[in-house]
C-alpha cells in the first residue's frame, strides 16, 4: 500500500474548492458585493454629484416614505406585475396548446413567435412609441382611416398622453415581449407529458376539458412555476418599456418603483439607493409569496 503524503491529502480535500472557487468568486463579486454596496449607500448622504458626505442614518428612508408619490408608485408596481404576468401566462397557455398541435405552417408560426423575443426590448418600445405618435403614428393612421379616430394630432390620437390609456398600452407591450419566452417554456413542458397518460384518460372516457384541467395543467406545473417565477422578477424590474414610452409621465402616473428609483437618482442618490433596497426587498417578498402559493418543490400527487 502506497503512502499518501499529508500535502497530497490536503490537496485532494481542497480540490473541489478549486473548481467551484471561480464561480463563487464571480457570484461574490457581481452579485453579493453590489447588494452590500447598495445597502451601504442607502444609509449615506451623497451629493447629486457623487460626493459622499458621511452617514445619514435612516433619513434617506424617511424621506423616501414621505414622498407624496411613493404609495401610488408601489401600488402601481404591484398592479403592473400581476397584470403583465397574469395576462402573459393565460395567453401563453393558449398559444402553447395551439403550437403543440400539428397544422400547416406551424414552423413558420413558431418562428414568428420568437420575433418579439429576438428584438431588443428597447427597440420594441421605441417602435410602439412611434406607432402611437399623435401626428404620424401608424396605429393612429389606421384608426383614422377606419373612421374610429376623427383627426390626427389631437388628444384623441395620443393614447400615451394620459395615464388611463397609457398604462394599458404599456402592459400590452410588456405582455407582447414576455409571450415568446413563456410560451416556449410551456411548450417544452407540454412535450414532457407522456402520450400514454392521455390515452388512458381517453379510454376512461374523459372529456377534453377534463383532460386539460386534470392532466395537462397539473403535469405542466413545474414548467409553469419556473416560467411565472422568472416573469415575476423580470417584469418587476422591467425598465425600458416605461422609460422609453412615457418616462413615467404624466407626473409619476405611469411610473413603477424601478422608474421612480431611476428618476430619484437625478436628485438624491442616497434616496435612490433606499428605493433600490425597498425594490430588492419587494422582489424577495414577491418571490417568496409566489413560491409559497405555487408550493415549489412538493411533488405532484
Amino acid at each position: 500500500m502506497q503512502q499518501t503524503s499529508p500535502l497530497a491529502r490536503a490537496g485532494r480535500a481542497l480540490e473541489p474548492l478549486a473548481w467551484v472557487g471561480p464561480a463563487v468568486v464571480l457570484i461574490a463579486v457581481v452579485v453579493v458585493w453590489p447588494v452590500i454596496v447598495m445597502i451601504q449607500s442607502s444609509f449615506l448622504k451623497i451629493s447629486r454629484f457623487g460626493v459622499v458626505r458621511g452617514a445619514n442614518g435612516v433619513d434617506n428612508y424617511t424621506k423616501l416614505f414621505a414622498e407624496p408619490d411613493f404609495g401610488g408608485v408601489m401600488i402601481r408596481s404591484l398592479i403592473w406585475v400581476v397584470a403583465v404576468v397574469g395576462l402573459t401566462v393565460v395567453l401563453s397557455l393558449a398559444l402553447a396548446q395551439l403550437f403543440n398541435q400539428r397544422f400547416p405552417g406551424r414552423n413558420i408560426a413558431r418562428w414568428a413567435l420568437i420575433a418579439p423575443w429576438a428584438a431588443s426590448v428597447l427597440m420594441t418600445a421605441i417602435i410602439f412609441k412611434w406607432m402611437l405618435d399623435p401626428e404620424v403614428g401608424l396605429i393612429n393612421m389606421i384608426l383614422h382611416d377606419l373612421g374610429i379616430l376623427d383627426a390626427m394630432g389631437g388628444a384623441d390620437a395620443d393614447p400615451l398622453g394620459k395615464a388611463s390609456t397609457a398604462f394599458p398600452w404599456l402592459i400590452g407591450v410588456a405582455v407582447f415581449v414576455s409571450l415568446p419566452f413563456t410560451t416556449y417554456a410551456l411548450l417544452a413542458g407540454l412535450a414532457t407529458i407522456p402520450a400514454d397518460v392521455y390515452e388512458a384518460a381517453r379510454m376512461d372516457g374523459a372529456s377534453k376539458a377534463r383532460i386539460y384541467f386534470s392532466i395537462t395543467l397539473p403535469l405542466l406545473r413545474p414548467a409553469l412555476t419556473v416560467a411565472m417565477l422568472i416573469n415575476v422578477m423580470n417584469v418587476f424590474n422591467s425598465f425600458p418599456i416605461i422609460w422609453v414610452m412615457t418616462h413615467g409621465q404624466p407626473g409619476y402616473s405611469t411610473a413603477t418603483s424601478t422608474i421612480f428609483m431611476y428618476i430619484l437618482k437625478g436628485s438624491d442618490i442616497g434616496e435612490s439607493a433606499a428605493m433600490s433596497v425597498v425594490n430588492f426587498g419587494m422582489v424577495v417578498v414577491l418571490v417568496a409569496v409566489f413560491l409559497k402559493v405555487a408550493r415549489w418543490n412538493r411533488q405532484v400527487a
Partner: protein, 421 residues
C-alpha cells in the same frame, strides 16, 4: 494529481486577474502624475454631446477628435482622451465616476457648482491664462463664481426666441407674430381654423419642461425665485400663468397632453410644418432646416402684456478637476481651445452662441443668430447656483405638466421640495 492542482490554481489566478483588471483602467492617469518629468501625459476628458448621437455627422466624438488631433500635433507630449456622453446620462455617469474616485481631468457639461463645495475643482485662475480669461464675457464669467471665486469656465451659451412658421401664418391670415398673451391666443385660434393641428407647440415633458415653464413665468413677471432670491415657484404670477396655459390647452390650441411631450418631438413637428409657433433657440435652427422648413421667422418671447425684454439664457461649462494634477497640461488645452478655431467651429456646427468677446464679434454678421446675440446681454439664467436646484429641476421636469390641471397644487408641491430640508 499535481498537474491538476497546478491547473486549478492557474485558473483561479487567471480569474482573479480578469476580475481585478476591471478596476485598474483608471489607474494610469494617477500613475504618471509626475507631469513635470516630460513623459507623455494623458488628459482624460468627459464631454456632453451637442450632436445627434454617436453615428451622426455632427457627433461629439467627431467634433472633439478634430480638436484633439490638432492639439496633439502641436503638443506631442500631451494626449487627450475624450469620452462623449449624451445629455440624458452625463450627470449620472459623472456622479458615478466621482463616487468611485475616478474623476476626469476635464469635464464639459451643464453645471459646475455641485463640485465646488468639496474642493474638487481648480480655480479658473489656475488653469486659464490671463489673455483667455480677459476674452470671456464678464457677465458669463460672473455666473461661474461661487463666493467670488471662479470655478466654472463658460463654454457655450444660448438664448431663446419665438419661432413661427411663415407659410402657416400667411395661410391663417396673421400679419405679424404675436406680442401679448391675448394676441397669441387669437393667432392660435386663426391657425386652428386654418387646419393647423398644433397652433402652439408646448413641450412640458421631462426633456426640458424647466425651460418652457420659465419662459412663460417670465412673461407674467414670475420665475423660480422672487426679486429677493427666495424660491417662489407657487407665486400668484406663476399660478396665473398656468391658468392661461390651461385655457390654451383646453381649447385645443397647443400640443395635446403637453406634460408628456418632449421638445425634440415638438421641434420635429414644427420642422414638418405641423406646428404654427414654438419657443426655440439657435440650436433648433439646424433641426428645422434639416426637416425641410426654411420659411420661419424669429420674434421675442411673448409676455402677458408685451414681448419679453429678457429671455432664458443657458450657459454650459467646462471645468478642471484637481485630483490628478496636470494643471499645466489642462491650461495648455484650454488656451488652445479658446484662442484657436475650436470655439468658432463649435458655434458653426451646433449653432451655439459663443461666450467670448472675440467669438461674438465673429458671429455678428450671421443674420439668423442676430436676434439671439442681441438678447444675450439681457438674459435671465436658471438659479443653478442654489444647491437645491438639481432636486427642484428633477421635480419640475417630471411633474410640472400636471400644473395644467391643478396649478396651485402641483406648483405648491414643487415649492415644497425647494424649501424643505
Amino acid at each position: 494529481m499535481k498537474n491538476r492542482l497546478t491547473g486549478a490554481v492557474t485558473l483561479g489566478l487567471a480569474a482573479a486577474l480578469v476580475l481585478t483588471g476591471c478596476g485598474s483602467g483608471s489607474g494610469d492617469t494617477a500613475g504618471d502624475g509626475g507631469s513635470a518629468q516630460g513623459g507623455p501625459v494623458t488628459l482624460k476628458m468627459v464631454a456632453a454631446d451637442y450632436g445627434d448621437g454617436p453615428t451622426a455627422d455632427n457627433s461629439g466624438e467627431k467634433f472633439w477628435k478634430g480638436v484633439v488631433d490638432e492639439f496633439q500635433a502641436a503638443n506631442p507630449n500631451i494626449k487627450v482622451d475624450v469620452q462623449v456622453i449624451n445629455w440624458n446620462d452625463i450627470d449620472k455617469q459623472v456622479a458615478t465616476m466621482v463616487q468611485n474616485g475616478q474623476v476626469p481631468d476635464i469635464l464639459q457639461t451643464g453645471d459646475y457648482s455641485g463640485f465646488v463645495a468639496d474642493d474638487l475643482l481648480y480655480k479658473v485662475d489656475e488653469v486659464l491664462s490671463p489673455n483667455t480669461k480677459a476674452d470671456l464675457l464678464e457677465k458669463f464669467a460672473e455666473f461661474g463664481k461661487v463666493n467670488g471665486v471662479g470655478y466654472g469656465i463658460p463654454f457655450v451659451s444660448s438664448a431663446r426666441g419665438l419661432f413661427y412658421n411663415k407659410n402657416l401664418f400667411d395661410k391663417a391670415g396673421i400679419a405679424e407674430p404675436p406680442k401679448t398673451w391675448d394676441e397669441l391666443k387669437a393667432a392660435a385660434e386663426k391657425l386652428k381654423k386654418a387646419g393647423v393641428a398644433q397652433p402652439f407647440g408646448l413641450p412640458l415633458g421631462n426633456e426640458e419642461a424647466q425651460a418652457e415653464s420659465f419662459l412663460w413665468f417670465m412673461g407674467n413677471g414670475g420665475g423660480y425665485k422672487d426679486a429677493s432670491g427666495k424660491w417662489a415657484i407657487d407665486s400668484p404670477q406663476n399660478i396665473e400663468t398656468f391658468k392661461y396655459l390651461k385655457e390654451l390647452v383646453d381649447a385645443g390650441l397647443t400640443t395635446a397632453n403637453p406634460g408628456t411631450k418632449n421638445r425634440k418631438d415638438v421641434w420635429a413637428d414644427f420642422a414638418a410644418g405641423k406646428v404654427g409657433m414654438v419657443n426655440g433657440g439657435p440650436m433648433s435652427i439646424p433641426i428645422f432646416e434639416k426637416g425641410g422648413l426654411t420659411e420661419f421667422g424669429v420674434a421675442p418671447i411673448v409676455g402677458k402684456s408685451g414681448p419679453l425684454d429678457t429671455t432664458l439664457g443657458v450657459e454650459d461649462w467646462i471645468m478642471a478637476f484637481n485630483k490628478n494634477g496636470h494643471q499645466e497640461e489642462i491650461k495648455k488645452f484650454f488656451d488652445f481651445f479658446y484662442s484657436g478655431s475650436a470655439a468658432q467651429k463649435l458655434s458653426d456646427t451646433y449653432k451655439l452662441l459663443p461666450v467670448t468677446k472675440s467669438g461674438i464679434q465673429k458671429l455678428s454678421s450671421d443674420e439668423k443668430l442676430k436676434p439671439f446675440l442681441d438678447a444675450l446681454p439681457n438674459a435671465t439664467f436658471y438659479p443653478f447656483q442654489d444647491p437645491k436646484w438639481s432636486e427642484v429641476n428633477t421635480q419640475i421636469k417630471q411633474t410640472i405638466g400636471g400644473a395644467l390641471d391643478d396649478p396651485a397644487k402641483v406648483l405648491g408641491a414643487i415649492q415644497k421640495v425647494a424649501t424643505s430640508g
